[in-house]
């Protein structure tokens, strides 16, 4: 199975239980290179827990996670990040007192073989600086370089969230609700940014905004109550009666 080179990420019967509550229940998903993969589902479907399992922020109760055919189940978050999975957070998770550049610079610095270096000033690491500048450029933040991150608009902070992930040079992006809480204009800007990223990176996207999902994703996975309802190409999911009933439904969703 993992001989298939097009598969970048795969979960096998991934399960997470919190006491009696099974938040993610035997979910098996395959993510392929170049096929942006969106995970949708009502609130409480277990999407965020699923992302936390993929990126090592939570250890699974059972099941496996394979990244490029390698078993990464149970590895801590920092190891998984170093293997090439870059993750953004649903709630803005930046260093608000640092400048935009320093946020990105630190992210880029994480790719050094070690940061146990005590003597040379960090800002003199030319390659790290270059990666940080490039990430700011990609995320449309080049003009905000020296702003204190916490003083920017919400939308810009979300862009920074993405820029920090890019600065870690990931192979696979796992974006947890990048549009959460954004106004219309900000959303449009972010969707344009994400479209650009989808062309360059493998992408797993958790999102509520259906317009965005349909314009970005090639593959959809629908989760309901911790279980996988259906997974497949966008058109197939759109046509699925089960999905219609459970989620896309008649607009009266289980939000």
């Amino acid at each position: 199975m993992s001989a298939d080179d097009s598969v970048i990420l795969e979960t096998r019967e991934l399960t997470k239980a919190f006491g009696g509550l099974v938040a993610v229940n035997t979910v098996s998903v395959t993510v392929r290179k170049g096929e942006p993969h969106a995970i949708i589902g009502p609130n409480g479907a277990g999407k965020s827990t699923f992302v936390n399992l993929l990126t090592g922020h939570l250890p699974p109760s059972s099941g496996r996670v394979l990244f490029r055919g390698r078993d990464i189940t149970g590895l801590p978050a920092h190891r998984i990040s170093r293997l090439g999975i870059g993750r953004s957070y649903q709630k803005t998770n930046i260093f608000p007192t640092f400048s935009v550049f320093e946020n990105c610079r630190l992210a880029a610095q994480s790719r050094l073989s070690t940061s146990m270096r005590f003597f040379r000033p960090a800002v003199t690491l030319a390659e790290v600086n270059r990666q940080a500048e490039q990430a700011m450029e990609q995320a449309g933040l080049a003009t905000r370089r020296d702003r204190t991150a916490g003083t920017m608009s919400y939308g810009e902070q979300r862009q920074l969230e993405i820029a920090m992930v890019l600065a870690t040079r990931p192979e696979l992006l796992v974006l947890d609700e990048p549009l959460a809480g954004m106004g219309k204009e900000e959303s449009e800007r972010m969707v344009a940014l994400l479209k650009g990223l989808a062309a360059q990176y493998s992408l797993v996207l958790v999102e509520h905004d259906m317009d965005a999902v349909f314009s970005l994703a090639a593959t959809l996975t629908v989760m309901v109550n911790g279980t996988l309802l259906e997974s497949g190409p966008v058109e197939q999911i759109r046509a699925s009666q089960a999905v219609q009933d459970a989620y896309l439904g008649d607009g009266a969703e289980a939000y």
Binding site: T55, H57, P76, A77, H78, R79, S81, R82, R87, Y89, N93, I94, F95, P96, T97, F98, E102, R105, L106, A107, Q109, S110, R111, L112, S115, M116, R117, F118, F119, R120, P121, A122, V123, L125, T143, R144, M164, T168
Partner: protein
């Protein structure tokens, strides 16, 4: 923390110049108390070194420790233990050995403590600190609860030639001043390094640091050891100065006092806690000279500073520059 703003840097350099020249004008200002005051200022600089080292943990890495005095005391005790009775220790042996011991002990304590956060970390470090206190209090290693004397200052020699005579109060003053400035510059260098940037980021948002691919525990542990070792240096100098060590050096009072200096001075700024040491000790001297019930006004003073200067003395200095040009309008 990047470069210091200009006005703050100027004020600090001026204060440093005052400190460096103190032995010159101190004898003119306070002729009859000069010897006492020279000792006192030396002692304050030693406490300032300890406060800065604690700031690395508390203000920068976000690890509030109530056991920092254990390393201060251990540094002092190592000098007492390594000094032959009635003879001088060789500083080239005693100092590295003392610091290495503090580093090793702090690595063990740190490894057991840093996995906890917040209140748990405070309690664990407090517990380790008190263990250190009772270790020296109850053992016969160095005089038990009576403490131990260091009769002779360590020698500083190269090939039998004495470089410095630490018995001279004036020489010792400048040695401590050098250690104080050196510790500050060392910490500044470390903070600017890739390591230091990670540690600062941990203080702001540890979880995000992990998400970026750093293992925060490793960086916290190394920061803990660096802070402890510098505190050990302060303790070594303190023991040399007073020629005496006792278990109180390791007590939680001592840790708490250092924490007050850090908070009073302004956490996370390094120079703030150093200023905090001076402010607290000079205030204590002032109140002591007026009334024997000095603890009451002292307490009120600390409360007043904390209420009036939420960012400490350092906040006051940094404000000197807080007139940023109106935010350059975007897209310009």
């Amino acid at each position: 923390m990047t470069r210091l703003p200009r006005p703050a840097a100027i004020v600090l350099l001026a204060l440093l110049a005052l400190l460096a020249a103190y032995p010159l004008y101190g004898s003119l200002l306070f002729p009859e108390k000069h010897a006492f005051l020279l000792q006192k200022v030396t002692g304050i600089m030693i406490l300032a070194i300890m406060a800065m080292s604690l700031d690395l943990l508390v203000g920068i890495a976000g690890m509030v420790s109530l056991g920092h005095a254990a390393f201060f005391g251990l540094g002092g005790y190592m000098l007492a233990i390594l000094s032959p009775q009635y003879e001088a220790a060789d500083i080239w042996v005693a100092l590295p050995l003392a610091l290495a011991t503090v580093a090793a002990v702090s690595a063990v304590i740190g490894a057991l403590s840093i996995r906890t956060n917040g209140i748990s970390f405070i309690m664990i470090t407090l517990a380790f600190g008190q263990m250190g206190y009772f270790f020296f209090n109850d053992s016969r290693l160095a005089g038990g609860s009576d403490g131990a004397f260091i009769y002779v200052m360590p020698t500083v020699e190269i090939a039998g030639v004495s470089l410095l005579n630490l018995e001279s109060k004036l020489t010792f003053y400048y040695v401590v001043l050098g250690a104080f400035v050196g510790a500050y510059l060392l910490l500044r260098m470390v903070l600017a390094s890739p390591f230091g940037r990670v540690v600062q980021a941990i203080g702001v948002n540890e979880n995000r640091v992990r998400g970026l691919g750093f293992d925060p525990d490793r960086y916290k542990l190394v920061a803990f050891v660096i802070g402890a070792t510098i505190a050990g240096l302060a303790g070594f100098l303190g023991a040399a100065q007073y020629g005496f060590v006792n278990p109180a050096m390791l007590s939680w009072h001592q840790s708490g006092q250092a924490l007050v200096m850090v908070i009073l001075g302004g956490t996370g700024t390094l120079f703030g806690p150093a200023l905090g040491a001076f402010v607290l000790e000079l205030a204590r001297m002032g109140f002591e000279s007026v009334t024997e019930h000095w603890l009451l006004p002292m307490g009120l003073f600390v409360i007043a500073v904390v209420v009036l200067l939420p960012k400490g003395v350092a906040g006051l200095l940094l404000q000197l520059e807080r007139k940023p040009p109106p935010e350059a309008e975007d897209g310009a």
